[in-house]
Symmetry: C2
Subunit: 305 residues, 2 copies
């Protein structure tokens, strides 16, 4: 029996909408959100396409989780406090098993990211396309931008790097580590952590920030260009994903050029203490461009077309 | 030569982002918007899929226009003042002619709807899928909901009805009017008018409102159900699209059950004057359900799955 849009929304998504900021959630023409007085709205949108951004045989729970976490990472990179999200879901058919599992993964991410679902649109189409819009708030003068890095600043990154790129190499059968390492890396790819609490802590402290979505060098390239500075990295200081301990030179390459880790990379004044769980990986200098261990580096990164 | 995402955004979409509410537009991890003090954020999202929501041979200018107008109509239905929009665009390839034309149509709609483009995401995928998120603002106590219709209220609609459904009948070769009527109806389908100014005027006046997206009966069914009332329509009072003057009984059916007109249908206290350009088409009564000329009517409407 075909499921119509209203029934589908009621059955799978209605319960994900509880949140203090949501004054009116799913069920009218639009959702209503309250912002903390005096703060600006911070909003970003990210699309995942099946077969392009994740393999077709990915568990739908993981697809639901990842779709929101990836979008939420942009709020973290701005230092925004999360308010709510909306979902635009295009599916070839209303497969109820898929929807049940997808909504469970999404619900978990809504809770982990503090982003209750305020509304959305479900449509039929020839491919599975998932667009998440995330909405957050921040005092206007505390927003983390890309353009404030200054010579002498420390360059820091949260968590570990290279894990998501290694997972892609496993999925594409370009690399075959042991089963334990493979499981850890695939979990890293499918369930990224949006560093929202760290982003909020960096307000008024970090001079620039971005999330590692296209790759460390590519994303630091945006900071260097926007700030008009050079960035020098020390490859020995890169915090490799633990499962990459035995991956040799590949691990270093994945950490530098691989995307999808969704860690925060940010610049701090020289005297600022390193936040817990973060690593100092280089420094900001006068000039332009990036270097690794003193050698000029290409920003590279993922090409969307 | 392939166009990468950054270049594509710069070339086609960068210029659509001028607007008072946008504190930071395209080019960082997220966009920043300012809300008028004391107002709530009103947000909605709508997706158009090529071949599902519009025929594959639709001019890309019209696709760009319609994608935003359809989403903006939800802001109108809430009485919200437009602030900005974001675009999530999935394309099989970066076809520059298509992008140029699409962005021109979108730019026109951004101007007409007062919704400058604040950000977005472009992705490659097997189908063209266009998701527009619209952001507006309204004083919390003035938002137009679906649940405030009261017995004795007038039922009113803006503009004309049935034109978009007639256009679909032409596109699907189920109906063959003269060329002049066909042109007018197709323009109506491809370039709907989001009734934003009317929505703002209805704040504090209308008791309930919704936009005609799924069909007049289906959408009034939502008002009747949410408000706990019955709605009685007078079919002779329906403002048919002018090109349907000779369409006979079909015209009436399209006006009642066809979707995609994006007019506002709303309820007004008995004594309130009819806004310019609107028609009184019935009244709210005690009870439940809809009737047309005294006969019970099925809500029907478009099934998304």
């Amino acid at each position: 029996m075909p499921v119509n849009e209203f029934e589908l929304i009621r059955r799978y998504f209605w319960g994900l909408g509880a949140g203090d900021a949501i004054r009116l959630g799913i069920g009218d023409d639009a959702a209503l959100l309250e912002l903390p007085p005096g703060e600006v709205l911070v909003t970003s949108v990210d699309t995942l396409v099946e077969g392009v951004h994740y393999p077709e045989d990915t568990f739908p729970e993981d697809v639901g989780y990842r779709a929101l976490a990836v979008a939420a990472s942009d709020l973290a990179a701005m230092g925004a406090s999360p308010l709510a999200c909306t979902l635009a879901l295009t599916l070839p058919e209303a497969d109820e098993l898929w929807l049940q599992a997808f909504s469970e993964g999404l619900a978990r991410a809504c809770a982990d990211c503090r982003l209750p679902l305020a509304g959305g649109d479900t449509t039929r189409g020839p491919a599975t396309v998932i667009t998440l819009q995330v909405l957050g708030a921040c005092p206007a003068d505390a927003v983390l931008r890309r353009n404030g890095a200054r010579p002498g600043n420390q360059v820091c990154v949260s968590g570990t790097l290279g894990g998501a790129a290694a997972a892609l190499a496993i999925l594409e059968e370009r690399w075959h580590p042991g089963p334990e390492a493979a499981d850890a890396l695939l979990a890293r790819f499918n369930r990224p952590t949006a560093r929202l609490a760290l982003g909020e802590r960096l307000r008024g402290v970090a001079t620039a920030a971005i999330d590692v979505s296209d790759g460390l060098l590519a994303d630091l390239g945006h900071i260097a260009a926007a700030s008009g500075v050079a960035i020098a990295l020390d490859s020995a200081a890169l915090p490799l994903a633990p499962a990459l301990a035995d991956a040799g030179e590949r691990g270093r390459a994945w950490a530098l050029a691989g995307g999808d880790d969704y860690e925060l990379v940010f610049t701090l004044p020289a005297e600022a203490p390193l936040p817990e769980g973060c690593s100092r990986i280089g420094e900001v200098r006068e000039g332009t461009g990036l270097s690794v261990d003193g050698e000029a580096a290409e920003a590279g990164g993922y090409r969307h077309f």
